[in-house]
Subunit: 533 residues, 2 copies
């Protein structure tokens, strides 16, 4: 049963009179449950609980945290039917998508559970002393990564599971040893509550401290603003719009004690197509990209928003085929009327731009929340001139950019802002695919794909889901994959500490049997190493 | 010969009419050379050169960058007499200190040279594909860390070599593959120019692109402000005051495209002394700490600014001995009249505070720039009440805090801001040394020292020189040790790339013979691994 209340630690609570409902975009009606926005007192309670829980949670062993994550995944599995029901009613997305996203969410939790058992994420390093060194003895120094403190996670509109309540930010923060305060996304507050109940049950079953997780509802931005400014909050994870992410970044960096924000924001995910590839496969590529642009109704951070190539007959054939294909794909429901309306506003702006021509055309009317699939076209020159054409239009559309020559393609790439992804469609030795193009492209993106589509973000250790601003607020981190844990860890060094007072990770005998770097060499050696020194 | 000009890449340049001189604090007179502040056009040239050089430098192999760093160290050695002369005349520090700092600077460069040859800093990771996986094939994903772009480094007042021109920030940035724009510290512009000449010669001899290093002079803050706002600058390294570091952080985070700043700022480096230790060694500890407080005339980021213990007869004996010892140590020259004056202003503020009593007393007058060594005392209660007592007073002074009991010592620790270091002086099983005290202390610091002094920052991979704000602007990084390179690196992933287009680090055959994580396992395997999959 969904209560509409906030989880303040393990307690359901609804102090506030501010309430809201979620929306079923397929039926175009409000859902029934009334959700209560977190009050100031609930915000204060949840953050204080997280602060207190941190003192206990940071001492919980990696093995126990691993069991906590596994238990969350078990709890999610056990209520998958409930999750699917509420998920579909709050998003308009099909059951298959929900199942896929739930599977991914579970896999993310389990990948961190595995990481915790393995131990190398803590980057343990030991430098043995040289007491006789002149002019100064070298001390015994040991370093490991420690959790940064309570992490505020904002649920994402477009991934109610994988980037929300028990999604990547939460999984990585809990894995790091950081309590999580979840600012639930108002569009899927019910899904958030159901998933939160699974986390709370898992925390109880594995004896985690109360306050290790809280889930706070909100209608507008006020709750989020208060949370970012709360002194108990030590870091923030966000996935969403540039506007939202930048606002959070600005608040966090203006605090008396600034905190790190990892915001994964807008991206138009440029695709470069080279002549030989087009000549051979223009039709297959058009079919592939019509699918990639429209999958999930275009509501992916990695949606291919601009497609760049040289003026040529084959590019024209590709474009014609793409326009034809994308018009034949049935529109699919967007997450919410707000997103549908924003999409249409974005399209209207493009339409008013006299340098851009829409290539798709529709005579019939569409139902509410079912967006048109739109392909437009602009010259490279006009694209470079007008930075507004780089703004993400969140939905199933793409802008075609035609270049005259290699020099112009380089200029287009140079003009691009930071991106989550960049894609190259080419034969290995394609005309004009110079090292310079690859090098320039690489400066702009977090992930560079060869002959594929940017949509679909594999969860693995080699994944980078981030990129130069505005793709993210800090290109040095990733939001997806096990390395995303690094966002919530800080190094602490122990100098000349007695064995009995060191954390287990740093003790001579290596009781956790983890890989450590001792005097520059990776080893699992324990006491024997230190006897020899 | 010192010209007083800026290095715009390899070219000496002086456009501006704004000029200044450095100061010899020992002689209390200006030095002779006139330095010219970098003009707007010189700033623009240097940053554009760095931007262009980056495109070449990022393709320079790690081995070649390693040779560049080694060559810098050779050049520095070959002009060590020149460096010592100008260093001493611009700082008032003794020759021995200069030699020690030069040695450390050279060792830092060489430690990065070694790191580059070894290769694991790039965190290369390869996930092999599963083309048959259902419902979606798993792509081939390969990830490595890449340089972030041109780095702006601010020279520090108190370490003209080790934290300035060719210091840790520069060495780590060049090692990462990032060109450096050095904003030279006005107090030691001559030392900066001499060291810069060594870097420029090394760059030429090892065929590095022009613009890989520039050195810009400035009198006031304007040049720094313009540089932080310059769009070619992609990251900033700073060591200095909280005021300066915060101003840079604020500018950088308010840019249209924010950039990461690592500012290592103020710290009072609390020292906790426990009863049993005091009882046994109060006299030795007092002697040790009188030295630590006064070394380098107290001008170290890790100077022990507050000393905390329980009210006891032995603590009184320690305090008396410390006061006696510190008064017997001859004062040593501070870096500059500005620093000397700031120190005296800080002391005056403390003196006006009716809750603080100065324990040292001086009847004689001192020469200019030779500071008094001052020990003051305050109760824990008053210390907790007054946040101003936590402000760093940069110089040879320390504040004694007396606590009534364990509860009060915990309250004092809880009240502390972020610190570079915290020190515990105790016997292994000392009275009141609870795990709770260690855990609480650890939350506040980057490095925690047992039975030692915080001054002296060992350059090794287990060192953390940073800490929670305001010790640094980002507790997730360190300014000292090989891990400081992480500040200037960002991950980039390559999906389904052909072998011929991959960087060498990511190619199947592992031509660089570096450690890589392939499907979760650390290995130097090359082709053989991929044949089996």
């Amino acid at each position: 049963m969904i209560t509409g209340k906030n989880y303040i630690g393990a307690d359901l609570s609804s102090d506030s009179t501010v309430s809201f409902k979620t929306f079923n975009p397929l039926l175009n009606i409000e859902n029934k449950t009334t959700f209560f926005e977190a009050s100031d007192s609930e915000i204060q309670k949840a953050t204080k609980l997280a602060h207190d829980a941190f003192r206990v949670f940071k001492l919980v062993s990696a093995k126990q945290r691993s069991e906590f994550l596994i238990q969350i995944s078990e709890e999610l599995k056990s209520i998958s039917d409930d999750i699917i029901n509420i998920y579909c009613s709050e998003t308009g997305l099909p059951e298959g998508r929900c199942k896929g996203e739930l599977g991914r969410t579970i896999n993310q939790l389990l990948s961190f559970a595995t990481l915790l058992k393995e131990g190398s994420y803590q980057e343990v390093s030991i430098d043995t002393p040289l007491p006789e060194r002149k002019p100064m003895p070298k001390p015994d120094l040991r370093k490991m990564l420690m959790p940064i403190g309570p992490v505020l996670v904002f649920g994402a509109s477009n991934f109610p599971l994988a980037y929300s309540t028990a999604g990547g930010d939460t999984a990585s923060a809990l894995a790091a040893g950081c309590p999580v305060i979840l600012k639930s996304h108002p569009m899927h507050a019910g899904t958030g509550e159901v998933v939160s109940s699974a986390i709370i049950r898992a925390a109880k079953k594995t004896n985690m401290p109360n306050g290790v997780f809280s889930n706070l509802n909100s209608k507008g931005i006020e709750v989020g603003v208060k949370l970012v400014n709360n002194s108990y909050v030590k870091a923030v994870g966000f996935t969403g719009s540039l506007k939202g992410g930048r606002a959070i970044y600005d608040l966090a960096s203006q605090r008396s004690h600034p905190i790190p924000v990892f915001a994964e924001m807008g991206s138009v995910n440029p695709v470069l197509i080279f002549p030989k590839k087009l000549q051979k496969e223009y039709s297959e590529l058009a079919i592939q990209y019509a699918k990639s642009i429209t999958v999930g109704s275009g509501q992916f951070c990695t949606n291919p928003g601009i497609i760049i190539s040289f003026k040529s007959d084959y590019f024209d054939l590709f474009i014609n085929k793409l326009v034809q294909e994308i018009q034949e794909i049935s529109p699919s429901c967007m997450l919410h009327p707000n997103i549908y309306n924003s999409y249409n506003l974005g399209l209207q702006k493009i339409k008013k731009n006299k340098n851009v021509s829409e290539l798709t055309s529709y005579s019939d009317k569409y139902e509410n929340n079912f967006p048109r699939h739109v392909i437009s076209r602009v010259s490279a020159e006009k694209f470079i001139e007008d930075k507004c054409l780089q703004h993400e239009i969140f939905g199933p559309c793409s802008l075609i950019i035609t270049c005259q020559d290699e020099e112009e393609i380089l200029k287009v790439i140079e003009s691009l802002d930071g991106q989550l992804t960049g894609t190259i469609l080419a034969q290995d030795h394609d005309t004009f695919l110079s090292q310079q193009i690859i090098d320039t492209f690489e400066l702009k993106v977090g992930r560079i794909i060869f002959n594929g589509v940017p949509t679909g973000v594999e969860v693995c250790s080699s994944m980078t889901h981030g990129g130069p601003y505005p793709a993210s607020t800090d290109s040095r981190f990733t939001a997806v994959g096990i390395n995303s844990i690094k966002r919530w860890l800080r190094p602490v060094s122990y100098q000349d500490f007695p064995q009995s007072l060191l954390p287990d990770e740093l003790k001579n005998d290596n009781p956790l049997n983890i890989n450590r770097i001792i005097d520059g060499v990776v080893t699992r050696e324990g006491d024997s190493h230190f006897e020899n020194t």
